[in-house]
């Protein structure tokens, strides 16, 4: 699975489930999910489930920080590190 495919899946997940659109322009890859009100606490937990179900990525307790999860770019960087480890 290449990183670009993961990016597209993540974008579709956020766009359809939290912004309720398929318009790619509605989400910039560096937009903060929390500052933009795109995800709330339940949304973050759903995102963690999605990472597990779609990419078999387990997020540890100490990794649950906005630096890892708060935008598409942050997620891609985080997933890249996880896949390398």
């Amino acid at each position: 699975m290449n990183i670009e495919s993961i990016r597209q899946q993540l974008r579709s997940f956020i766009l359809e489930n939290y912004l309720f659109t398929d318009d790619p322009a509605a989400l910039a890859d560096d937009s903060s999910f929390l500052d933009g009100g795109i995800l709330d606490s339940m949304g973050i937990l759903e995102l963690i489930d999605f990472l597990d179900e779609s990419f078999a990525i387990k997020v540890e307790g100490d990794e649950l920080i906005p630096d890892n999860l708060d935008s598409i770019d942050n997620l891609i960087a985080f997933i890249g590190k996880k896949l390398q480890a």
Binding site: E16, N17, L19, F20, T21, D22, L34, D35, G37, D40, S41, M42, G43, I44, L45, E46, I48, G61, D62, E63, L64, I65, P66, L69
Partner: protein, 644 residues
Amino acid sequence: MCGIAGILPIRRPLEREPTLRLLGAMAATIQHRGPDGEGFYVDEAVALAHRRLSIIDLAGGAQPMHTIDGDLCVTFNGEIFNFIELRAELIGKGYHFVSQSDTEVILHLYREYGLAFPSYLNGQFAIGLWDKREQTLILVRDRVGICPLYYSLNPERLVFASEIKALRPALSENLHIDPRALQDIFTGWTCIAPATVFKGILQLPPGCILTLNSLGEMTQSQYWDIAFPRAREEYDQRPESILVEELHGQLLQATKLRLRSDVPVGAYLSGGLDSSVLVALMHRQTQAQLRTFSLGFSDAALDETSFQQRVVDYLGTDHSRVQVDYGQIAAQLVATIWHTESPILRTAPAPMAILSQLVREQGYRVVLTGEGADEVLGGYDIFKEAKVRQFWARNPDSSFRPLLLSRLYPYMDLPKGDAALYLKKFFGVGLETPELLWHSHLPRWQTTSKAQLFFSASFAEQLNVLRADDYESRIATLFPAQARDWHPFHRAQYLEIKTLMSGYLLTSQGDRMLARNSVEGRFPFLDHNLMEFANRLPPKVKMKAMKEKNLLRKMAARYLPAEISQRHKQPYRAPNVSASQDALFGGELGDYLSEQTINDTGIFDAKKVAFLLKKARSGKPLNTAESQALTGILTTQILHQQFC
């Protein structure tokens, strides 16, 4: 509850027969409010209608009622609880009464005190009073908005009624949804009085009196408002033990007045502190076995049956309970919106209609309820949340202070890791502006306003044109100038009473769901004497540390077992739409959300709504904002089809 309606032509006479027909059509739409009789008064200058629910002076209280000389005529919805005392006082002043009803008191009280008369009333009321000599119509609404009163004014006439649907026969055009009012509902749950969700239809704000004469000259003034201390010395500083006694006396008197009726009075019993205290006080005063009524939910997380049963066993009431499931709520929703006359963001009104139906089926038409206790005595979590956020704002960089919020909402799912940072993102709104009068409500508005994401581009464009006058600036107009000197806790109480309580709990979830089944609700915690006492209490007495309704708990301990008197507040909640999706969207209700219907209505973006529905149907739980949005969209669609 009764239903009232009327017409005042401006600079032109009324024709009797067409006016009677129109008045009859208006009154017929609100027959549910008063199935026991109807009455009309028409002369050249005014037309008044009344639908009666007989509760006091069953034989002699027919309306519209006029003075013997014919100079004054009144149509009135509600109850004047202190009518016995007022009657005696007026007889002492030489007035002659021909009935035993509270309605007649209004006529003589106006003659004695003029436009100051509402200040003498202890009750819940919407009044239309015609002063023939002055050729002036006087509309009055009770202090907190228990009884509804709507009107529409154009250069030719004013029409008024208890419900918006009663105005429609008198309107020349269809109703249209007001974009700004809908945006307000999709922000703070309610319109901001005097607005309603329909263009050109206004409500008389609570505590207000409006006059309009036959020349079209209008005045409006406020005869009562909630007031809080502006300085420490204005607080009631008596010892807490004395304050508990005072609260006991006030609540006892408020309950006693609200037991005045010529038909039996029952009570709603949720199993919480407020309704349980009321039932205990009723029991003490009547010594008879009481009839109580409650809801049970098939969803265990919402169900309070075990607490209800504990109180029933303890006080020995004759209790009836109706079990409500998702399917019943879905089946009730279209009829519910016909009565709320407003979009709603939660389904909670629907079960309240099922409950009032139970009351009526059991032969009762009056119930006491605990509504208002949380607003008046400080019971809601939003007051605690506001207290923590004020505390946090004094040290915004603290990582400890926001953690108090997770203790307040233990059921909130927070990611582990840096919990304080997440809390800051969710509740930190306005952290830098704690001086805002509406600071307490910013997180709630932020969550609810996510529903606006679903507005269509054309609807959003209409809102852009109106943006100069935004929500917060209009909320600001609700506050009196002295609110700047109030404690933040009191500002939060004021806002909660002025918006959610008056605009939703007492109307969509209160009057409308009661009146729909011809039942009258009475609310001892909203007695204005009790409210004025409670408003002088220091915030730390109302909420001790994080213990809500401190005084009421202490008072209740003498009447109720500790598991009830010390029980944590569980707000009344009904299942949300994500939980009830199969029942909601399987049949008729799904049609309201079809792409075609959404596009025809034009308010929402069909594609976005489709994505939201897809998420709801996937079986994943919707979060609070999404659930509110889905309910709001569905009920707006229903409302539009019914009224526009």
